[in-house]
C-alpha cells in the first residue's frame, strides 16, 4: 500500500478543464505531458508549480493517448488513428491530422514497443463488434491493418487487452467476456502490407475470471510466460489478483482484494500497481524463471496432460572412481554423450536397457528377478537414472493395468536410497490407493520431500485401517518399544514419574476439572499407562511423527481427519508423552523412537487444527483435561527451571566473591 506515502508532486488543471489522456513522462527531457479537453497539450517539469502557466499547444485533432517508453521520443496517437512524434507535432501544432480509421471505428486499446531498437505501435479498434488491429512501424512508416476473427464465440465482447513482444511476433492477449484469455500472434514484419489480413485467435486460458462480472477486469503480461489478471474468479467471490503461468497453464499466485478494484492494472519495474478500494496498492512481483517445479505449486490437477513435461532423471552424483570436483561436469557430459550414443546406435543391450524392456511386458515375478540382478550389479555410472526410469516404468504400468502391483520390486527400489517423492509422486499415490501401509511406512522413512497433504493422507490410512488387516502386514517395528513390559512396574513408578516432570495433581489448583477425574482414579491409571493402539499401528504412527513438515501446509489437511481418529492419535501421543517423562532424559526406549519435541509438536498441531471438534466430544474430555494439566505442568517446570537458574547464578556470584578473598597467593614454581 502506498496510501501512507506522500506524493512527490501534484498538479491540477483549472476548473472546467478535463484531463482526457493520462499524463506521461518524456524520459528524454524529464518532462511531463498531459492532454486536457482532448486537444490541449501541456508540458512541464518538476520545478513548475502551476499547470496553467506551463507550455501549452492546441492541436487540430483530438488525442487518444500519448505514449512514451524509455529511449525514444513520445508518440501522440489521435482518435482518428493518426500518429505523430511529439517533436514533429510541437514544431507545428496546428498541422493537419489525417484520418486513418473509418467512421464509427473506435480505438479501444494501444501499446508502444521497442523492437530491435525500432518503435512499433499497436492499437486495436472496434466497429460493430468487429475488432481490428493496426501495427505501425516507424522505421519503415508502414501501417498494417488486421482483422481479428473471434472464432466460434462470435458474440463475446473483449474486455481487456495486453501484449508482449518477442523476436517475430507481437503476442496480443485478450480477456473476453466469457472469462477466457485468448492469444493472437501478430507478425511484426508484415508479409503483404497492402492486403487486408485476418488473424485468428487461440484459446490460452479457460475460465480465468467469471463470465458475468462487468467491472474490474483487467490483464497485463508480466513476461513471456506470466500474466496477471484482475477480476473475480467465480461469480460470487470477491475480486482477486491472480498471476498465471501460461506455459504450464497454472495459477502461480493469487491475492484477494476485498475492497474492490477498478479494472486498472499496471506492471512496472517488477511491481504490480492497482487500485484497491480508495488506495493505490503496489505489490512487488517478480516472475521466476518458468519451471515445472515452480508451476506445480498450485492447481496441479488442472494441468493439461498434453503439456505435462516429465523431468529427465539426472545423475547428480559423481560416479564412483571419479576424482576431483572440476572434472564432474566433463564427466557427466561424457556420460550424457554416452547415453545418447546408446540410444542412437544401440551397440549392444546393456543391463539397464534390458531391465527397462522387461518392465514393460514381463510378469511381476520376472521383473523382481531382473531388478534384483540389476541391484546386485550396483553402482554403474547411470545407476540413479536407471532406478528412476525403472520406477517410472513400473508405475506407468501400474496405472495402466490395475491388477499389476510389483510390491516387492518397489520396496527394493525404495531401499536403494536414491528415490525421492518428487522423482516419483505416483508411487505414494498408488500405495495410498492400495492401502499398502508397509510401503507407505518405507516411503515416509526414506523420502525427504513428502508433501504435507500426502503425509496427512498416510496418517488418515494409518488411523483408519482395521486392526485385523494390520495383523497381516509386515511393518518395521524398529521405532516401537514393547511398552507392555513396563506396565507391571507402573503403579510403583507412577508417583515419581509425575514428580519428575513437575506434574503433581495434588498441587493442581484446577480442582473443578479434577473432580471427574478423581472419581475413577483406577481407571485413569489404566488409561494412561496402556498403549491405546496396537504396536503395529504405533510403528506406523511413529513414521508420521518422524516425517518432516511445515506447520502452515500441514494444518489445513489435519482438519480433514475424523474426530475419533484425532482423539485416538492424541491418546497415543499423550501415552508417548507419559512414557517419555518416565526417565530423567525424557526419551523413549527403542532404537529410533520419536523425540519429545516431535510428540509435543504433534499434540499442538492436532489441537490447533481440531480443537473445536475435539472439545465437543464427551469421550475426549478426559484427554483434554489431561493435556491441559500437562501443559500447565510444563509451564511450571519451565518457570521452576528459570528460578533455579537464577539461584545458581547467585551461588556463582557468592562463589566468585569467596575466590576473590584469595586474591594473593604464593606458589612454588620450578623453572631452572
Amino acid at each position: 500500500m502506498v496510501s501512507d506515502q506522500k506524493p512527490l508532486g501534484s498538479w491540477s488543471v483549472k476548473q472546467g478543464q478535463i484531463i482526457t489522456c493520462p499524463a506521461v513522462c518524456n524520459f528524454q527531457t524529464r518532462e511531463y505531458i498531459v492532454v486536457h479537453d482532448n486537444k490541449v497539450l501541456r508540458i512541464w517539469n518538476n520545478e513548475d508549480v502551476n499547470l496553467d502557466k506551463v507550455f501549452k499547444a492546441t492541436l487540430s485533432a483530438e488525442v487518444y493517448r500519448i505514449l512514451s517508453v524509455q529511449g525514444t521520443e513520445p508518440l501522440v496517437l489521435f482518435k482518428e488513428g493518426a500518429v505523430r512524434g511529439l517533436e514533429a507535432l510541437l514544431a507545428d501544432p496546428q498541422q493537419k491530422i489525417e484520418t486513418v480509421i473509418s467512421d464509427e471505428e473506435v480505438i479501444k486499446w494501444t501499446k508502444f514497443f521497442i523492437v530491435f531498437r525500432h518503435p512499433v505501435l499497436i492499437f486495436i479498434t472496434e466497429k460493430h463488434g468487429n475488432y481490428f488491429a493496426y501495427v505501425q512501424m516507424f522505421n519503415s512508416r508502414i501501417l498494417t491493418k488486421y482483422t481479428l476473427l473471434l472464432g466460434q464465440d462470435e458474440n463475446s465482447v473483449i474486455e481487456s487487452f495486453t501484449a508482449s513482444v518477442d523476436r517475430k511476433f507481437i503476442s496480443l492477449m485478450s480477456l473476453s467476456s466469457d472469462g477466457c484469455i485468448y492469444e493472437t500472434l501478430i507478425p511484426i514484419r508484415p508479409t503483404d502490407p497492402e492486403k487486408n489480413q485476418t488473424l485468428v485467435r487461440s484459446l490460452l486460458l479457460k475460465a480465468v475470471v467469471s463470465g458475468n462480472t462487468r467491472n474490474g477486469v483487467a490483464l497485463t503480461a508480466l513476461d513471456q510466460d506470466h500474466i496477471a489478471v484482475l477480476g473475480s474468479p467465480q461469480a460470487a467471490s470477491k475480486e482477486c489478483l491472480s498471476v498465471w503461468n501460461i506455459k504450464f497453464q497454472t495459477l502461480q499466485t493469487s491475492k484477494e482484494l476485498p475492497q474492490g478494484t477498478s479494472g486498472q492494472l499496471w506492471y512496472y519495474g517488477e511491481n504490480l500497481f492497482m487500485l484497491h478500494g480508495k488506495s493505490l496498492t503496489v505489490i512487488p512481483y517478480k516472475c521466476e524463471v518458468s519451471s515445472l517445479a515452480g508451476a506445480l505449486g498450485k492447481l496441479k490437477h488442472g494441468q493439461d496432460p498434453g503439456t505435462h513435461v516429465m523431468p529427465r532423471f539426472v545423475n547428480w552424483e559423481t560416479p564412483q572412481g571419479c576424482g576431483l570436483g572440476f572434472q564432474n561436469s566433463e564427466q557427466s557430459r561424457r556420460i550424457l554423450r554416452r547415453r545418447k550414443i546408446e540410444v542412437s546406435l544401440q551397440p549392444e543391450v546393456p543391463p539397464s536397457k534390458q531391465l527397462l524392456s522387461t518392465i514393460m511386458e514381463d510378469s511381476e515375478k520376472h521383473i523382481e528377478v531382473e531388478v534384483r540382478k540389476f541391484l546386485a550389479l550396483k553402482q554403474t555410472p547411470d545407476f540413479h537414472t536407471v532406478i528412476g526410469d525403472t520406477v517410472t516404468g513400473l508405475l506407468e504400468r501400474c496405472k495402466a493395468e490395475p491388477s499389476f502391483y510389483p510390491r516387492n520390486c518397489l520396496m527394493q527400489l525404495i531401499q536403494t536410497h536414491v528415490l525421492s517423492y518428487s522423482l516419483c509422486p505416483d508411487l505414494m499415490e498408488i500405495a495410498l490407493i492400495k492401502k499398502d501401509v508397509q510401503l507407505l511406512q518405507l516411503c515416509l522413512q526414506q523420502f525427504p520431500d513428502i508433501p504435507e497433504s500426502v503425509t496427512c493422507a498416510c496418517l488418515k490410512i494409518f488411523l483408519s485401517i482395521g486392526d485385523d488387516s494390520l495383523q497381516e502386514t509386515d511393518v518395521s517395528m524398529e521405532s516401537v518399544f514393547d511398552y507392555s513390559n513396563s506396565v507391571h512396574d507402573e503403579k510403583m513408578e507412577e508417583q515419581t514419574e509425575i514428580l519428575q516432570n513437575g506434574f503433581s495433581p495434588e498441587e493442581d489448583k484446577c480442582s473443578n476439572c479434577d473432580q471427574e477425574l478423581n472419581k475413577k482414579p483406577q481407571d485413569e491409571t489404566k488409561e494412561s499407562t496402556s498403549c491405546p493402539v496396537v504396536p503395529k499401528r504405533a510403528a506406523l504412527l511413529n513414521a508420521i511423527l518422524h516425517s518432516a513438515y511445515s506447520e502452515t501446509f500441514l494444518l489445513p489437511h489435519l482438519k480433514d481427519i475424523p474426530a475419533q481418529h484425532i482423539t485416538l492419535f492424541l491418546k497415543y501421543l499423550y501415552f508417548l508423552y507419559l512414557k517419555c517423562s518416565e526417565n530423567a532424559t525424557m526419551t523413549l526406549p527403542g532404537i529410533h523412537p520419536p523425540t519429545l519435541n516431535q510428540i509435543m509438536d504433534w499434540i499442538c498441531l492436532l489441537l490447533d487444527a481440531n480443537f473445536t471438534v475435539v472439545v465437543m466430544m464427551p469421550e475426549a474430555k478426559r484427554l483434554l483435561i489431561n493435556l491441559y494439566k500437562l501443559v500447565k505442568s510444563q509451564i511450571s517446570v519451565y518457570s521452576e527451571l528459570n528460578k533455579i537458574e537464577v539461584s545458581f547464578r547467585e551461588l556463582q556470584k557468592l562463589n566468585q566473591e569467596k575466590n576473590n578473598r584469595g586474591l594473593y597467593s604464593i606458589e612454588v614454581l620450578e623453572l631452572f
Binding site: N642, L663, Y664, V668, L669, E670, L671
Partner: protein
Amino acid sequence: RSTSGAEPESARARGAGAERGERREGERAAGIRCVAYNNQSNRLAVSRTDGTVEVYNLSANYFQEKFFPGHESRATEALCWAEGQRLFSAGLNGEIMEYDLQALNIKYAVDVFGGPIWSMAVSPSGSQLLVGCEDGSVKLFQITPDKIQFERNFDRQKSRILSLSWHPSGTHVAAGSIDYISVFDVKSGSAIHKMIVDRQHMGVSKRKCIVWGVAFLSDGTVISVDSAGKVQFWDSATGTLVKSHLIANADVQSIAVAEQEDSFVVGTAEGTVFHFQLVPVTSNSSEKQWVRTKPFQHHTHDVRTVAHSPTALISGGTDTHLVIRPLMEKVEVKNYDAALRKITFPHRRLISCSKKRQLLLFQFAHHLELWRLGSTVATGKNGDTLPLSKNADHLLHLKTKGPENIICSCISLCGSWIAYSTVSRFFLYRLNYEHDNISLKRVSKMPPFLRCALQILFSEDSTKLFVASNQGALHIVQLSGGSFKHLHAFQPQSGTVEAMCLLAVSSDGNWLAASGTSAGVHVYNVKQLKLHCTVPAYNFPVTAMAIAPNTNNLVIAHSDQQVFEYSIPDKQYTDWSRTVQKQGFHHLWLQRDTPITHISFHPKRPMHILLHDAYMFCIIDKSLPLPNDKTLLYNPFPPTNESDVVRRRTAHAFKISKIYKPLLFMDLLDERTLVAVERPLDDIIAQLPPPIKKKKFGT
C-alpha cells in the same frame, strides 16, 4: 635441589590490579563506543566510554600503537578519519576534537553549539565533516589544513540526530533520528525526504523507535538499523521502504558497509553480529539481493559499534572486547590475518614494581594503588601453594585530581619515589617508610616542561628520573633527598615531533634507550649527555625493550613477535641475534596474538631473557639450541626426575609457561622470586552491567 638450579617462588597477585576495573572503586571497565577503520593506512581507531582513544595498526599484527588518555567529561559518541589520515572525534560535551597522531595529544577542540553531539560523518572526499546534535541540528564543517571551519546548518530536525551517512557521491546525506530518517540535499541543506520508521516491535508498539545507524549506498538505497530490532532498506529517491529484516529482539545498534558495497555488518544489543551480503538471486544471474548470511556471537553485551575492513568484520561493545573476525573468502593465504582476534587487554604495561621493597604500583584510570607483597616462611615442592605468614597489604590509594585519566606511572626500584602524569600535570611523590607507616610528600614546583609525560622511568639507583614528554623531548632529572634538578633534555631530531613511548635504562645508569611509535630506537649516553647510536629501523613497532645488566645488550621485542638483541657498546646486533634471524623463530612463536609487554633479566643468569605477553611467559636461554619448526615449541618445563640425556635432547632455548593468564605483568623480584599479576576475565565481566537476559528454558 635439582642440579639445574634454584626454584624461584612466584608471588601471584591474582587480579589485584589492572588498568580498568576495581570493584572497591566502582570503576568499571571502559567498554568500546566507536571504531573507525582507515583503509589507506590500515589503522583502526577505537574510542572507549571513558573517552580514551586507541589506534591499532592492523598491518603490524593489530598492535595498539597509539593511545590518547580519557577524560571524564569527554564521552566520545563518534569517531572518524578524514583525508590525510586525520582523526576526529565528537562527543556528548558538544565538541569536535582533532588528534595529533605524531605528538599524541589533542590538537584542538571546537564547540559546535548544538548540545551533545551524537553522530559525525566525514564526506566521501574527506574534506567536510558533518555532525548531528542533540537539538536536532546537522552542522557542516569544512576541514582546513590546520583546523575545521563551520560552514552552515542543515534544516533543523525535531529530535536528536543519532546517525549520519553520506551518499558516496557527496550530494546527499541520510540522518537517523527518533522515529524517522531524513534525507538531506547537501547543496541546499534541505530535507528532501522523511522516512517514518515503524515503531512496532514484534507486534507490540514501543514508545519510540531510535534509528541507531544509517548507511547510504551509491545506488540510492539507505539501510537503517533501529531499536525495534530491524534492518531496513529504503529507496531514497522515493522515500519508500523497500525491504525489512527483523533480526533481533533487542536494539540493532550499529552498521558498517564494505567499500565495495557488496557486504555489510550490523551489531545488536544481544551481542550478536550479523553479516549481510549482496548475492545473486540464482547462480549466473546478474540480479542481486541482500541476504543475511552469517551470524556471529563473540560478545556477551551490546555491540555498540562495527566496522568493515576489506578482509574482516570488526566489532566492539560494552564487554570491552575488540573482535576482528576475518572473512575467510577474502583472506587469500592462511596467515596471521586468517585468525579470529579478540583484543581485551591494553598493549602497554600498567604495573611497575619496586624490587627492593617488594612493592607493586598499579595504574588505574583515575587512581594508583600501591601494594606490598606478602610473605611466607614455608617451603614446598613444585606446584604447591604456600600458606601466607603475611598477606599482601594495600599501602596507598592515590587518587588523581581532575577529570583526566592517568597516562603513565612509575615507582622507583627503591620504592621511595612515585611519579605519574596526566595530560596537563606531572606529579612526583617522595615516600618515607617508618616501620609500618608510610608518609607521602609531593614534590612541588614542577618545571613547566614537565607537564605531560608519555613514559616515566627511574634509574636503578633512583638518582635519576627520565621523562618522555609529548613534545618529543627526553628530560633527565637529578633526584637527591627531597628535591630535584633538571639535568638535560634530549631534543628530538629537527623536523620530527614524534613522541617517545618506551624507555629503558641500563642498570649501571649509563645508557638510555627510547623508542617512538614508528621511528627506530635511539640510545643515549647519559654520562656524556649525547646520542650514542640509533638501532637500525625495523618495519614493526617496538612493544617492549630492556637493557641487560653487565653486557648492556638491548633486547627489543616487536609487534611481529621478532626479538632482537643489540649490543650498545659495539653498536651492532649480537651474534646470538644474528643466529636467531638467520634461523628464524618457530612458527608458533610468530603466530602468538598478543605482544610482549615486558622484558627482564635474571641477575645471576646472564644467558636468560625473561619476557611475557598476556597468555604466557617465556625464558629464553641463549645457551641452548633454537627450536626449529619440527620441534615442539611449548614443551612444559621438563620434570626433574627425567635423565639428563632426555632433558638435553628435548631442551631448546624457549621455555614457555602458560600457568598464569591473562598475565598483565611479570618480573623478577630477586634471584628466587618472581611476581606475576593476573587479571581473570570473569572479574571484568562480573563488573559489567548484566547483559540482555535470554531465557534458557521454555520459549
